[in-house]
Symmetry: C2
Subunit: 197 residues, 2 copies
DNA sequence: TTCCAACTAACGAACGGTCGTCAGTTAGAA
DNA sequence: TTCTAACTGACGACCGTTCGTTAGTTGGAA
């Protein structure tokens, strides 16, 4: 299907050049058609953008779901795996790059639509993380803290790694993830063996 | 001076709409002149942008310096104040908003220039933070950790708060800063009073 | 003090491009 | 025949940029 190819090209350029930095002719050229032909599939640039954004939203939510649901591991392993997964996805998943850029700096005239989608994603994210921490608190492996606050702190850690991914890709994020993770885990976990090494 | 007014208008629009999303006529209109008149002061859009970027870089480095040098407080107070300061600056300081956006998503054809400036800022940042942690380690208030890693972890915390500032401004960052800070501090400090509260 | 030259900062007009978009057409498949 | 997806051609708008001009100012020299 040709409209899929168009969306694929669109998401690629939107992700690396932003909305204003991407032209329809650029997209069309990548597909191998003329820019006017895009109007056989979409009502215009905004329509194309919003459809692509919706795909990216669903993709991100879906990814997050399958990722978490399949984890019968310990909290520590689960969270650390989520960090690693974030880094892997950033390199390979163009949806995520797109999603990131647009949630950071949406084009002004589509702010409302993007913001609505963004809050939907965020609600989903928090609802998925919360049970993990709640059950860990029950199991008595964490310092006694508000589980909502723990979710916030973990999302902050994810955001910090995300920033490093944007700044310098995976190589750079790798230098940051372990020091930050160690501080985070020491900050939430009950000390079981004293200050380690 | 009129070229200062141009730069002020430019940084404002660059910060909120990005490089591609900002036109010279927009800038000129805000100043109250025609876009052609900008060429009496700058060689073109790129020149204007790079001059503005240089101003922002110097401003940021200067801010950082004066902020840290004036702190004879404890590490805990100093770091927490830096977090609070970050949030205050984001609202009032257009240089910072500009700097942030351009370090996240620079216009492609100016990537090299921006990247060079960015690394200069980052080096400065690390050199300023490192002594704080080193002396705190000597004073024996921290878990024994690599001071470079502590700097990385703290910058991660700053980045996380920055993301929240970009997402939803100060109100939103305020909801995140305390939970994240608490986890961070518990993660690096020696427990002096057991699990608190 | 007057005069002229140089400089400055703004201007209108126009340039070649590219933008997103629309209308009408054509070729092939159902 | 109807429908679809591509095409050609053209539209007005705006982009960054260049040019030549026009005021207003400044600094000496006469």
């Amino acid at each position: 299907m040709s409209s899929e190819k168009i969306k694929k090209a669109a998401i690629y350029y939107f992700a690396i050049n932003g909305y204003e930095g991407t032209s329809l002719s650029q997209i069309a050229e990548k597909v191998g058609i003329k820019k006017q032909s895009i109007y056989s599939h979409f009502n215009g640039k905004d329509d194309l953008f919003l459809q692509v954004m919706n795909d990216a939203l669903n993709q991100e939510i879906c990814d997050l779901n399958t990722k978490i649901k399949q984890y019968p591991k310990s909290l520590k392993e689960t969270l650390y795996d989520l960090l690693q997964d974030l880094m892997m996805r950033y390199e390979n998943n163009v949806y995520m790059k797109f999603w990131l850029r647009m949630s950071f700096y949406p084009p002004g005239h589509l702010f409302d639509e993007i913001n609505t989608a963004f809050y939907q994603y965020e609600r989903e994210q928090k609802q998925l993380f919360l049970p993990l921490f709640k059950s860990a608190i029950k199991d008595n492996v964490l310092k006694k803290k508000n589980p909502e606050h723990l979710v916030i702190a973990f999302i902050s850690l994810l955001n910090a790694i995300t920033v490093e991914l944007v700044y310098g890709g995976v190589e750079r994020a790798k230098e940051v993830v372990d020091p930050s993770w160690e501080v985070f885990w020491d900050g939430i976990a009950l000390a079981t063996e004293g200050a380690k090494e």
